[in-house]
Every structure is written in C-alpha cells, then in structure tokens.
C-alpha cells in the first residue's frame, strides 16, 4: 500500500462522522474508505442519506460544526493530513488543491454579487493577482465553460440553471485544483442540459488532468464518466471496483438491486424491481450489515456481524457475508436478470 500512496490524490481511511443533535446522534459515515489517484474519476454512488455529501464536505473540512463531529479516521489530501490541518492551511487548500461543485446551482452563487467577481475571488485569493488581472483570467474561464465573457457583469438571477452550474464549474476549476468534488452536479438541471454540462465537465477534466470525485445516485452518469466506482450504503463502501467490475461483475446484493431498479428499455412492459424497504434511519442503524433487513439473501450472521472486505482483484472488493476467498472469483451467489 505504501508504494501506491505516492500517486494518491486522496486517501480516506475508515472515517467516522456523526451529527450530534439534541434529539439523536446521526451516524453519517461509518468507516468510509476511499482512494483516488491523480487524474482519475471516481464515482461515489448511493441513495440519498448514504453519506455521500458528508464525505465531500469532510475532505474540504467544511462539515458544519456543530452538529457535525469527525469521530475518527484519516483523510490524506495530497500529503496533507486534513484532520490535523489548521484553518489557515485549509484556506490555502480549498479552491487550489481541492474544490467542490455543489448540488444546487440555484443557491450556490451569491445573489448580490456579479458572477465575474465571484470567480475572480479565487484568483485573488490563491494567486495573489490584482483585481484587473483576476477579471481578465475570469473572462478566459467563462469562455472555457461556454459563457460569453461580457455576461460576467450580470447577477446570478439573470442566468439559467445550466448557466449557473457552468459558473460554479468555472469557479471550481479557476484555482486549477488536483481534485474536484462534484456533488450531484447535474441533479438540479434539465435532462438536456445535464448531458451538456456532463460532457463539458468530462472534456475539461481530461484537458486539465484533474482528478474528480463524482458524487451521484445516477448509474448513467457513472457509466459515462467514471474510471472507478464505490457503492456506498449507510456511510460505508460496500462494493468497490473499476467501472467494468461494478457493471459486469457485480457482487453485492445492494449493487445488484441498484441495477435491477433501473427501467428496462428493451421490455417497456416489464415491472420495475425496486429494492424493498427504505434506506435505514442513520440515527438508528440496524446491527451487523446495515443492509440486512432489505437483503434478499440475508443469513443469520448478517444481523450480528459487519461483513469484512473480500477482494476479487486488487481493486475490486465487496463487503458481504455471501462471499469468501473461495467463491468470490466465480460469483453467481446472486441472480441477475
């Protein structure tokens, strides 16, 4: 592992995060682990409330505190220990080493500031250039994401949703970070605009050689853009592998459920097969494997013990009691239709 760490952009190791309110302790992350290499696109897939956004915020060290508390675990961001970093260090890192594209472009821009000033701040902050120079660079940035430079003088409310997200993307790219965290960047957009924005992100990412953590619940986006995929359930990665591993050599019943719940385009009359039950309340997680109450292959051990990781290849692993070193290679424990 230590050899590999050299080209790691991000290494999260068994991270536990809780939101402690008066009513309950919400366990958002329960042993989250992630590795992203330089220039790689990593998909983080899961349902709402699985802890995807919390993971992103933890990397930025922007988990609202209170109520958020990082209980234990390590985050190495390009050799920087995020947990031990001072606020001053993080200010330097945010925007220049790692930046984040938030889910809702409608609310993530300051409504009382013209967009070019909002982007220019990144240049002023990290490259210590004067305002005129920053604006010049901003105009280049705007052109790069397909917005005419002269529209920089406008306010966010004069932009459409897709345009706003382009502005946010320009802002995230401005500091040429090594890692971009994209938190469901297209969820709030129209389907037609989604494809445009996604394509643009992919092109820019490839051109600039940036690594990306693509947080999404959309398997279509994952197939389109990601190199590696981690499937998260209740704040923990339950299956991880390359795009092909996850799509073609699926092992975990939950991942299988995700695929089965997609509509079948060849047979329009086929019923959807949703995963039964609901995402567990993170304030009150079931014991053992948190997925066991919804799992079609549940065994006695599932409700008492958390499943260890079983590796199929060096990359592809699954955390499920169905598997051991002997049967992981051939799979076939679950029926795929």
């Amino acid at each position: 592992m230590s050899e590999d760490n050299k080209d790691l952009m991000l290494n999260i190791d068994s991270l536990y995060v809780e939101y402690r309110t008066d009513d309950a302790i919400v366990k958002a992350l329960n042993g989250m682990s992630l590795q992203i290499r330089h220039g790689e696109t990593h998909g983080l897939v899961g349902e709402t409330g699985a802890g995807k956004t919390t993971t992103g915020l933890a990397i930025m060290k922007l988990i609202p505190d209170p109520p958020g508390v990082v209980v234990s675990g390590d985050i190495q961001l390009n050799y920087l220990d995020v947990q031990k970093a001072t606020e001053k260090q993080m200010e330097h890192v945010r925007g220049s080493v790692v930046s984040m594209i938030f889910q809702d472009p409608m609310t993530s821009l300051n409504p009382v500031m013209v967009v070019e000033d909002q982007i220019a701040e990144v240049f002023e902050q990290h490259e210590k250039v004067n305002h005129a120079e920053a604006i010049k660079r901003t105009h280049e940035m705007l052109e790069l994401v397909g917005i005419p430079a002269e529209r920089g003088k406008e306010y966010p409310h004069q932009f459409s949703g897709g345009m706003k997200q382009r502005v946010v993307i320009a802002m995230a790219l401005a500091g040429s970070p090594g890692l971009i965290i994209a938190d469901e960047p297209t969820t709030a957009l129209d389907v037609t605009i989604q494809a445009q924005v996604l394509k643009m992100m992919k092109d820019l990412k490839d051109r600039l050689g940036t690594a990306m953590l693509m947080i999404t619940h959309d398997l279509g986006i994952v197939a389109e853009i990601c190199d590696k995929v981690s499937v998260v359930y209740a704040g923990r990665v339950i299956e991880h592998g390359t795009l092909e591993d996850i799509f073609d050599r699926t092992r975990h019943p939950y991942t299988e459920g995700l695929f089965n719940s997609l509509p079948n385009l060849r047979d329009r009359k086929a019923m959807l097969k949703p995963i039964k039950g609901l995402m567990p309340d993170p304030a009150n997680l079931p014991g053992g494997c948190p997925f066991h109450p919804r799992c079609n292959y549940v065994m006695d051990i599932c409700s008492t013990e958390r499943a260890p990781r079983v590796y199929r290849t060096e990359e592809h692993y699954v955390a499920c009691h169905l598997y051991n070193a002997d049967n992981i290679q051939q799979g076939g424990m679950i029926q795929r239709d």
């Binding site: 930025m60 922007l62 609202p64 606020e87 993080m90 200010e91 330097h92 890192v93 945010r94 925007g95 220049s96 930046s99 984040m100 938030f102 809702d104 609310t107 993530s108 821009l109 300051n110 409504p111 009382v112 500031m113 701040e121 990144v122 902050q125 990290h126 306010y155 409310h157 946010v168 802002m171 500091g175």
Partner: protein, 308 residues
C-alpha cells in the same frame, strides 16, 4: 426608477387623508372644548359662542375638515389656537431638535446593533452571543421614560457629566439619544443576528468558504450584504418607533421638539397644531419607508430588476 418613486409619492395622498381624517374625528370627539381652553373657565356664554362662530367650530366636522384640508393643499397648516401663530412656523422651529434627537438615537442604535448582531451570529451560543441577546432583551423590555430617568439620575445628578434637560449643545443629545436609541438598538441587533444566522447556513456561504476565502472575508463580503435586507426593513420601522418615542423622550428630557409640542397641543385641544404634527410625522414615516424600499434595490439586484 423615477416612475416608481413618482407612483409612491402619489400613493402618499390617500395615506395623509386617511390619517388626518381619523385624527380630526378623534380630536372632535374627545372631551374638552378648545374655546374654553382659550378663554378660560370664567368666560361668558356669549363670548364663547361668538368665538366658536368665528373659528368655524359650529360647522359640521366634515365641513371643518374639508376647509382644513383645502388649506393644507396650499401648504397652510393654519393658526395655532393657543399662540395664534402659524402652525408651520411653530413646527419648523422645533424640527431641528427632533431631527437631531432621532439622528443621534439612530446613530447610536445602528453603530452598536449591527456589529453586536453579527458577532452574536458568528459566535452563536457563546458568552458574547448570550450577553448581547440579554442586552437586546433588556432593550425591548425597558420603557423609554424609565431608562431616561435612570440615565438622568446617574449621569446628570450623581456624576454631573451631562445635562438633564434642554437642547443647548450636542451634549444635550447624548442621554436622550441613548434612551431613545436603546430600544431600536435591541430590535436591530436581534434581527441582524437572526438574518445573519440564516445567511451563514446558505449554500453560497459554503461556496465562498469552499473557494478558500478566510472566514472573516466570507462574513464581510458575502454574508453581510445578504443579511442586510431584513435589517434595513427593521431600521425603517424603527424610524417610526423613534418618532413616537421622541414624544416620550422629549418630555422626559424637556427638549423643545415636535413630540413635546404635540403632547402640549393635545392637552390644550389645539387641533390645528396636533394635525400639523401628525402630517409631519406621517410624511416623515412614509418618506423613510420609500427610502427603505429603494435601499432594498440598492442591496439586492433581484429587487432592483423589479423597479424598472
């Protein structure tokens, strides 16, 4: 923009009519006779009757009102029953005092309230937050006249630092300014805190932090301006509170302002004087409201877009 301002000024006319009509009726219904107040209790019935006729008080109230309003349209507020001088002159001579009082009160209020509100929000649930919100609670709870008397007791009688009455120099406005401004300070601080708390949780505040801006810049450059809209609203409303508060403050500190003049005129049944003060107060409040609405547009481009 100018069209909007023009529309707003036109809308003032029905407001003035409504307010003065209401006050006119209330004053006519109130017990006490202005004529008796002028001539004294010993006046003969004939003298009273002839003066009533002369002043037009025997006409129906609505006729009296229309006559008064006609003069108002020509800029004439009539003659004071008591001093026989022009009400306009009486008010004009008192406006500077009330303006100075309101200005010092508002300055004191804003100067303390906004930093206090911001600090309380940024350091939510800290001792500073608790202390400033306790101060704000005191501010909204303590009556102006009582605070005024306490201030006089301490600073004028005990310490002899500041004058307790009159309007001789700027020093005369410090104590009344504090007494009057304290209440507004409390309201403004509370609203600044709560709107700041809301803005701090907004996505764009998080975006600003994600850019790597220092927290201080995030608050000053991004959060504050967004938090100002509710604050400006309350500042505008507090201008109204200052006008009514000036009535009490000017009485406690014996300041020769409009508020005190109105109180004296009400007890003397000096209807033209009371109405004159009401017109001035109504106009001031409406103009302040208009300024507040224009300020919204200045602060928030989305509102500005609606004006044109």
């Amino acid at each position: 923009m100018w069209k909007y301002i023009g529309r707003r000024i036109l809308a003032l006319i029905p407001v003035i009519v409504g307010v003065t009509l209401l006050v006119y009726f209330i004053m006519s219904l109130a017990p006490g006779d202005p004529v008796k107040t002028i001539l004294g209790e010993q006046a003969t019935p004939e003298a009273i009757e002839s003066l009533r006729e002369e002043m037009g008080l025997n006409d129906p109230i609505i006729v009296q009102y229309v006559r008064w309003f006609g003069k108002l349209l020509q800029g004439d507020l009539g003659l004071s029953y008591k001093s026989k001088d022009s009400v306009s002159m009486e008010i004009a001579s008192r406006i500077p005092t009330t303006l100075k009082l309101s200005f010092s009160a508002m300055t004191i209020a804003i100067l303390f309230a906004i930093p206090l509100g911001i600090i309380a929000a940024v350091k939510q649930n800290s001792i500073i937050d608790g202390a400033s919100m306790f101060l704000a609670l005191l501010g909204v709870s303590i009556p102006i006249f009582w605070l005024g008397l306490l201030l006089i007791l301490l600073f004028s009688l005990r310490l002899g630092l500041l004058p307790s009455a009159g309007a001789q120099s700027w020093k005369s406005f410090i104590l009344p300014g504090i007494a009057l401004g304290f209440h507004s300070m409390a309201s403004i601080a509370r609203i600044t805190r709560s709107s700041m708390l809301e803005v701090i949780r907004q996505d764009y505040t998080r975006t600003a932090r994600a850019k790597g801006l220092p927290y201080r810049d995030v608050i000053q450059k991004h959060a504050l301006r967004n938090a100002l809209i509710p604050t400006v609203t309350v500042v505008g409303l507090q201008m109204g509170a200052l006008l009514s508060g000036s009535v009490l403050t000017e009485t406690v500190f014996s300041l020769p302002g409009i508020g005190r003049y109105m109180i004296q005129s009400i007890s003397g049944r000096d209807i033209p004087a009371v109405l004159g003060c009401i017109v001035v107060f109504t106009l001031t409040f409406s103009v302040v409201n208009l300024i507040v609405d224009l300020l919204y547009g200045f602060i928030d481009p989305r509102i500005r877009a609606q004006y044109s």
